[in-house]
């Protein structure tokens, strides 16, 4: 019996088709559904006015307020900004400050007296860096895509005895462009 079994195995291996009966297999052609996806390159930038914990605050649009109530010195903005950038391409993030113009009198506080400190998520607080007149500060850049960047931006303003009392208005521009 054992010898028969030993002989049967090589015999069966010689025949690639069933020995004891003919079996035919039919391949049924079902519908083929192709799936295609196109991911377009994009950049999304969000700037929020935030509370001390970094939570977005209500209001129409972010406005940085400095309440300079103790004479000459350095004042921290009442609320920080939270900058979020989501992109699937390489990019550069800059910040630029325009001079603060006095609303009533022709007085100007130059951008050099404004400073920004960037604290990236999960990292230590950054140092304050002064803005420069007509020049952008590079906040962040990446040569890789697939980035969700979030940073808290603290702002401070230095006033001197030469700055007249009154209200001043200026603009901070957050600039985000593809990094070629």
């Amino acid at each position: 019996m054992r010898r028969f079994g030993i002989l049967l195995v090589p015999v069966l291996l010689l025949f690639p088709f069933p020995v004891f009966g003919e079996t035919t297999w039919e391949v049924l052609q079902g519908p083929t559904i192709r799936v295609e996806a196109t991911i377009h390159p994009y950049v999304n930038v969000t700037v929020n006015l935030a509370d001390e914990k970094g939570q977005a605050l209500p209001g129409r649009e972010p406005v940085v307020v400095f309440d300079c109530d103790r004479g000459p010195g350095t004042y921290r903005a009442k609320n920080p900004l939270v900058l979020s950038v989501v992109t699937n391409t390489p990019l550069q993030v800059f910040a630029e400050a325009r001079p603060l113009q006095g609303k009533e009198k022709a007085t100007v506080i130059p951008p050099e007296r404004l400073a920004i400190a960037i604290t990236e998520q999960g990292k230590e607080a950054g140092n304050f860096v002064r803005f420069l007149n007509g020049k952008k500060l590079l906040l962040f850049e990446t040569s890789a895509g697939g980035i969700a960047y979030t940073a808290r931006c603290d702002l401070q303003l230095e006033i001197t005895h030469e700055d007249r009392a009154g209200e001043y208005a200026g603009t901070i521009v957050v600039e985000v462009f593809y990094r070629p």
């Binding site: 930038v45 969000t46 990019l91 209200e167 603009t171």
Partner: protein, 268 residues
């Protein structure tokens, strides 16, 4: 007069509506652009229309100013916008912005801004610029915040390209090598390269590749990129060595030589 249960329904619906709108009535501005970069090659005299989509992702309406700007890169590779028409490689003769220059985007609204491209026959080099979208602050607050973003646009006529990089090398104060690469061609190039240090007898002592932190360097026509090649270790004793810089253009994973320089320098 609706009953108490109907009032409860209204309140629940209203709360749900506000919760489902991210950023609604929050102190935020948000702008999205797609695509952020366009490189178009086309023959002169051909008309082409391209669209760039801008999105207001915040919960409040925003006024957007749209304009064309010329473009250059700083020696460190930072994007610098210039007033339209101020650069010799300006897009101005080739691009017309077809949509309104200032428009309002409602919360969540997407808008396509169309550009008409046509390269005049006398344009014999690449043209570089950006379509810029900038939010216009509405308030009269102390320091308003604005977002400026957009799409960089590289426009290449079908011309005979000249690609040449002139190289300058010197030792900086800290003993590293400072390289200046100038694009003397008529279109932008993406380059990388290597620095070889040899003895006077020709024995190879060190090889460093550049750029060290990215894949390649983009250089616009007439533009200069500056880089510092750091030595990973001090591979050789102080002395005078032959320094060879080889620059290659990178195009579809093929490298082609674009420039080279061989000088003797005191290193490191």
């Amino acid at each position: 007069m609706p009953g108490p249960s109907l009032w409860k329904c209204f309140i629940v619906l209203e709360v749900t509506f506000f919760l489902l709108l991210p950023g609604y009535a929050l102190g935020s501005i948000a702008l999205g652009v797609s695509p952020p970069f366009l490189e178009v090659q086309m023959g002169s005299g051909v008309n082409r229309r391209v669209a760039i989509e801008v999105t207001n992702a915040a919960g409040v309406a925003v006024t957007v100013r749209c304009f064309l700007a010329d473009l250059t890169l700083s020696p460190q590779g930072e994007v610098l916008l210039l007033p339209e028409g101020s650069s010799p490689l300006s897009l101005s003769p080739c691009v017309v912005l077809q949509d309104a220059r200032v428009f309002t985007l409602e919360p969540g609204e997407r808008r396509k801004v169309f550009l008409r491209l046509k390269i005049p026959p006398d344009v014999r080099e690449g043209r570089y610029g950006a379509v810029v979208f900038e939010t216009v602050p509405e308030g009269s607050g102390e320091v308003a915040v604005s977002i400026r973003t957009g799409a960089l646009l590289f426009l290449l006529p079908r011309i005979r390209k000249t690609e040449r990089i002139s190289v300058t090398v010197k030792r900086d104060d800290e003993g590293s090598l400072w390289l200046s690469l100038e694009n003397a061609g008529n279109v932008h190039v993406r380059v990388r390269g290597e620095v070889l240090v040899r003895t006077r007898e020709g024995k190879l002592l060190h090889r460093a590749v550049f750029p060290q932190n990215e894949k390649n360097l983009l250089i616009l026509p007439g533009g200069v990129r500056e880089i510092t090649v750091e030595w990973e270790k001090r591979p050789f004793p102080p002395g005078e060595y032959e320094v060879e810089v080889r620059v290659f253009g990178e195009d579809r994973r093929r490298l082609r030589p674009l420039g080279a320089l061989r000088v003797f320098l005191a290193l490191p």
